[in-house]
Subunit: 362 residues, 2 copies
């Protein structure tokens, strides 16, 4: 019977790029026997405008009962001056927290055809294929106490708390070690243990998990500031990087920009394995809602399309369909089509829709 | 009469590169009428080994009473497993905190002669000249509560607290705006206001200071994850970046690596203006103690030498002497001498001492 899929296109370019996925879904239903029961809902600024909240509780419940969530992006400058609870971003933060989606897998992979789009020299970036595993339900994103308080003299104080517990660190470390075993068998754990006790605990727990359960994997440790430098100096030194929520946010955006093709990169965020052997999972492009180019029909739909391919592979167990999509994307790039973000000389510039159609044709 | 200078060479390559500064000091005393009353003290692992603490209170007192502090670098893998208070890094953290050195100025400037050393394409990095102003006595580096606690079930929890107050943000914002006025008149303030209330306060206070005191300067805001990406994509879009302690740590290391010449970059950390019109200040290279190459005589002494030039200019009011050093460094690079870290083909490879001597000759 049908897989339950929740589609949350969100804000900015989200709905535009999601439309191109919809075409592929229709084609796969007609020609590949894909059976999906799709529900679409509003999130982010789109939901705020209609419902007054960035995500409704019913939508969270729907997400929990789905086989997978395909997410677009949230964020809108028009909502940046409202109260803190009404940020569009709360939608994705709540989904991660409520569904316990603790491991965000962010590949930074260079598409050979796009090597010219990178700001890095070809000899530095060639062959780049690293994976950042970012913890996404703990750390300073969620720690209490938090807030802005007004002091007696009228001045104010902003507070956030970084908290990590042994079990939170253990479970994300396991995801990283498991992934490494299927890749180049190397994990680099990143924190700031010379300044933060939460980083010191992070380092100790990762070391313990490694010793007890994954002695066959090669483990190294790096400070977050050094990691940012090393990602620029020689990104090919890394295989899997595992790190906390805040460092992961910064370092994964940095790593994906190295490839020069942010608009190409999908990500998956996984929850714990449930009693039925499945795990909740959400798939989303690494790029954001890009309000500056929204509505112009020029956004790159490939990250969203590849996020759907990841979803087929990991949550629906349909690797052949995923292969089909990934090969189609490769072929389209090889044929020279480019959206504005990955444009380089000698290539043919196309918009969102033409790119989507080209993938479909392949 | 003589200026009081405290020299803290520290660990790793610190003492090696400081030796080359000493030569220049001797020469300037003999030929340029420079009068310095120099005190040298141990800090970091070097102090731990002798005194059992990363920095003695007397040394902090000496620093307070000096006209300037010339700092090398601290950090040593041998001391990475000791208790948290006995990290070599505590030396620099205490100096910053006790002397209230709140504004760390970190230039990321490309030396034209070294454009090949960058991992970025020449067309992306050419002309790079940005300045990061990093807050250094607040934020998550110092906030309370902090520590690792053991829970009833034996598991542990690591905690750190990010705190920023109105006045802490105001004073570092002013340093950034003042600097911008002498440069390209643009400030980009960086935080993570979509996730952290401390970042929201940061953004609001910077906006207020701008409106009240610096309406002539161009101000923009950027999220920290986006800033990491933009620094790789197009670093020339920035003039002055102002940010908190933790983001500043990561982003300034990233920015300096873009130039490909980490071993070339000095930094200054300034305290508030005192009653006597002067301000406490510490000068240090951006690079760390580099234990992997310590003792081999191959470290690049130029960042330490240029830190001394900054010290002459800003704390001792001797711009001519500073110019002399900076020109000498340019000439030496133009003549083709390179230490290993900035080596490229066709250049002459030299060690620490030969590089120092070459600057002296110029
Ligand atoms: C939208 C925002 C809250 C989010 C984050 O900071 O986690 C985004 O930057 C991301 O990385 O997914
Ligand atoms: C040595 C360490 C504590 C320090 C920091 O994190 O501030 C260093 O990385 C720096 O940037 O000066």
């Amino acid at each position: 019977d049908a897989h339950k899929l929740l589609v949350l296109a969100g804000d900015g370019i989200g709905p535009e790029v999601m439309r191109e996925v919809a075409r592929i879904v229709h084609w796969m239903s007609a020609h590949r026997g894909l059976k999906l029961e799709i529900t679409e809902e509003l999130v982010g600024a789109a939901s705020l405008a209609v419902h007054g909240v960035p995500i409704r509780d019913e939508v969270i419940e729907l997400a929990r009962q789905s086989d997978a969530v395909l997410f677009g992006s949230v964020g809108d400058p028009a909502w940046s001056h409202v109260s803190f609870d009404k940020r569009p971003e709360v939608a994705i933060l709540k989904l991660r927290k409520e569904l316990e989606l603790f491991a965000n897998l962010r590949p930074a992979k260079l598409f050979d055809a796009l090597i010219d789009a990178s700001a890095l020299k070809p000899e530095v970036v060639r062959g780049l294929d690293l994976m950042i595993v970012r913890e996404t339900v703990g750390g300073i994103y969620f720690g209490e106490p938090r807030g802005i308080e007004t002091l007696p003299d009228g001045s104010r104080r902003g507070i956030n708390t970084e908290v990590y517990t042994t079990s939170e660190i253990e479970r994300v470390a396991r995801v990283a070690f498991d992934l490494a075993r299927k890749r180049d068998n190397r994990v680099c754990s990143v924190e700031k243990c010379n300044v933060m006790e939460s980083g010191l605990l992070w380092k100790e727990v990762v070391t313990d998990v490694h010793k007890r359960e994954y002695p066959d994997v090669q483990l190294s440790h790096m400070l977050a500031d050094n990691c940012a430098m090393q990602l620029v100096r020689d990104p090919n030194q890394f295989d899997v990087i595992v790190t906390g929520n805040l460092f992961g946010d910064i370092l994964s955006d940095l790593a994906s920009m190295l490839t020069g093709s942010l608009g190409m990169l999908p990500s998956a965020t996984l929850g714990p394995v449930r009693a039925d052997g499945k795990r909740n999972a959400l798939y989303e492009p690494i790029h954001g809602s890009a309000p500056d180019i929204a509505g112009k029909g020029i956004a790159n739909p490939l990250a969203q399309i590849l996020s759907f391919a990841m979803l087929l592979r990991y949550s629906l167990n349909r690797s052949e369909d995923a292969d089909l999509i990934e090969t189609a994307v490769s072929n389209v790039l090889a044929s020279g089509l480019r959206t504005a973000d990955i444009m380089s000389s000698g290539m043919a510039r196309v918009g969102t829709e033409m790119m989507g159609q080209a993938v479909l044709r392949e």
